[in-house]
């Protein structure tokens, strides 16, 4: 199961928010979807899942809803927990598409362990801190154990250790044979952990390739308006934005 988008276009009124994007994410890939605010990252992912009307083709949206729910897990940006349910019950919601029974309880345990939440399983989810809630919601998506995992800014607001841990989990999910697509704003973490970066700007796909090839001045300047330092070190790729373009003192 892979994610395949061909010529995907989403219009708000007449104005295209996502404009003719073609993109494939294969099993084993951890693709970072990057771009400035308003570039259309969220819209692209929601349309790909069939959660909003679009033109073009999406391999996921073509599936009936029940099959799609087994094929793809979606972690929205809004961290919504409406009721004071226990952490284990919340994570178990990821098993809904699979029906009762089966491997459900084991999948919930695996997801809790991977996010370091085993000790939290009986706590009320609404009483956790924001960062802990974010990890619980990631665990919910993991428990779905779908071949495709899509996440919208999953690590925003987490502490540095939790951010690295979450990125390592996503990378491990990909290495384990899933196709992972995550919208990210932290380009440094994206550079280190993603196997591939896709750049969206004004709804168009403007760059697609390994982090080294994408995080170059020709992309960073026009798309993000920044200059950055990129270096290959003994610890891997290091990326640090240093100044806004045109800000020559920086």
């Amino acid at each position: 199961m892979r994610l395949d988008l061909r010529d995907l276009t989403v219009r708000r009124g007449l104005c295209p928010v996502v404009d003719g994007v073609s993109l494939a994410v294969a099993p084993g890939e951890f693709v970072g979807l990057i771009g400035p605010n308003g570039a259309g990252k969220t819209t692209l992912m929601r349309a790909a899942l069939g959660l909003m009307p679009f033109d073009g083709l999406s391999s996921l949206a073509a599936l009936p809803p029940a099959a799609r729910a087994r094929a793809a897990a979606w972690l929205p940006q809004a961290r919504d927990i409406a009721w004071p349910v226990s952490v284990a019950d919340l994570v178990a919601l990821g098993r809904l598409p699979h029906g009762p029974g089966g491997d459900g309880a084991a999948a919930v345990d695996r997801a809790l362990r991977r996010m370091g939440l085993a000790a939290f399983r009986d706590r009320r989810a609404t009483e956790l801190s924001g960062g802990e809630q974010a990890r619980v919601l990631i665990a919910r998506a993991l428990a779905q154990e779908a071949p495709v995992l899509m996440a919208d800014e999953p690590i925003a607001g987490l502490d540095p250790a939790a951010q690295i841990a979450a990125m390592q989990v996503f990378a491990a999910e990909a290495a384990g044979g899933r196709a992972v697509l995550a919208a990210l704003h932290d380009l440094g973490l994206a550079a280190r952990h993603c196997t591939r970066l896709v750049v969206l700007s004004g709804g168009r796909l403007v760059a697609d390739g390994p982090p080294r090839a994408v995080l170059v001045p020709e992309v960073l300047g026009p798309v993000f308006g920044i200059r950055a330092h990129l270096a290959e070190t003994a610890e891997g790729l290091v990326f640090q934005p240093v100044a806004m373009v045109g800000d020559e003192d920086g």
Partner: protein
């Protein structure tokens, strides 16, 4: 109380209150004698038991369950603990239908005119809410449409009162709107039960969708839940339950609001688990309240809706205060 024992315990409570309701009343029939007469149907006691107390107890159970179930479903769907089943306008529309039946004198000519008009009112409200909010709209549009419909129905009810043909009719309208289970017959039971059954079947199947909505509308849809189908089930199910409940019992408030609150913690706050618990809890609460109306002021005809509001409102204040302290 652990989740496993909650439903059996509530079931026993409902059964006990049902029996107490059967043996409570002004006719002065002993408990054993009354229950025996209910079975045999012989004599004056048999008539009282079968024609007066049995329908009253059945309606108390069924209406209470309807209000509890629809309250839990509405709170789950709107993801809001302050939602109540009347929110989508069906109870005020059903009340308007009943008020028109009283106002025009139709109910004096034909006994079932009142509940039938109330059901028609609820059906009109469903049509209006689907036209206003659209079949695919989200929760907020449903709330706004419900508020608009409730306001319109309330205004028309006030107009009917204002233009009441006689002070007697006005009094009748006011008393009816306070809600009561007194003097209901088996005809009311047979009229209400099909709609109550239909509504219960529609809402019983919403558990999975309501659970998924804990994560928000977007995540729920990605889990394979059709929000459009869920919304239609909620609107039609709630309308059938609340419309039929209002048709036979009048406006009984606070049950659908308070009962889900009371039981939420006991079921681990899971919306699907709350549905059956809240149905049983609502039945218990309404049976208890209806028994209380006969015991507290036996000769003053204390109205059921007045009692549930008198008990429910302070209790709700307590819950809100507790919620405020916990910051949840």
């Amino acid at each position: 109380m652990t989740g496993r024992w909650l439903l059996p315990a509530l079931g026993l409570l409902v059964a006990a209150l049902f029996l107490v309701s059967l043996v409570t009343g002004p006719a002065g029939i002993g408990a054993a004698e009354g229950l025996a007469a209910l079975v045999t149907g012989e004599g004056a006691a048999g008539l009282v038991m079968r024609e007066i107390r049995l329908p009253r107890a059945i309606l108390g159970l069924a209406v209470g369950a309807a209000l509890g179930l629809s309250g839990a479903a509405m709170q789950g769907f709107l993801r809001n603990p302050l939602a109540e089943p009347g929110l989508i306008g069906t109870s005020s529309a059903a009340a308007l239908g009943a008020v028109i039946a009283i106002h025009t004198g139709l109910y004096a000519a034909f006994a079932l005119a009142l509940p039938l008009m109330a059901l028609a009112g609820a059906a009109v409200a469903v049509g209006l809410i689907l036209a206003l909010a659209g079949p695919r709209g989200r929760a907020l549009s449903l709330i706004l449409a419900g508020i608009a419909i409730s306001a319109l129905m309330g205004a028309l009810t006030a107009l009917a009162l204002n233009l009441a043909p006689s002070p007697y009719a006005a009094t009748e309208i006011v008393f009816w709107m306070m809600g009561s289970l007194a003097d209901r017959s088996m005809q009311h039971v047979w009229l209400a039960l099909p709609f109550l059954g239909l509504g219960a079947v529609l809402l019983a199947a919403t558990g999975r969708g309501l659970d998924a909505l804990t994560l928000g509308e977007d995540a729920a849809e990605s889990l394979g839940v059709s929000l459009t189908a869920l919304r239609l089930r909620i609107v039609f199910g709630t309308a059938a339950l609340v419309g039929a409940a209002t048709a036979v019992a009048g406006a009984v408030g606070f049950v659908g609001l308070v009962v889900p609150h009371l039981l939420r913690r006991a079921v681990g706050a899971r919306p699907a688990a709350l549905l059956p618990a809240s149905a049983l809890g609502g039945a218990a609460m309404l049976l208890a309240a209806d028994i209380a109306t006969r015991l507290v002021l036996p000769d003053r005809d204390l109205k059921l809706g007045v009692l549930t509001a008198l008990v429910g409102a302070p209790f709700f204040l307590h819950l809100v205060r507790r919620m405020g302290r916990e910051g949840a």
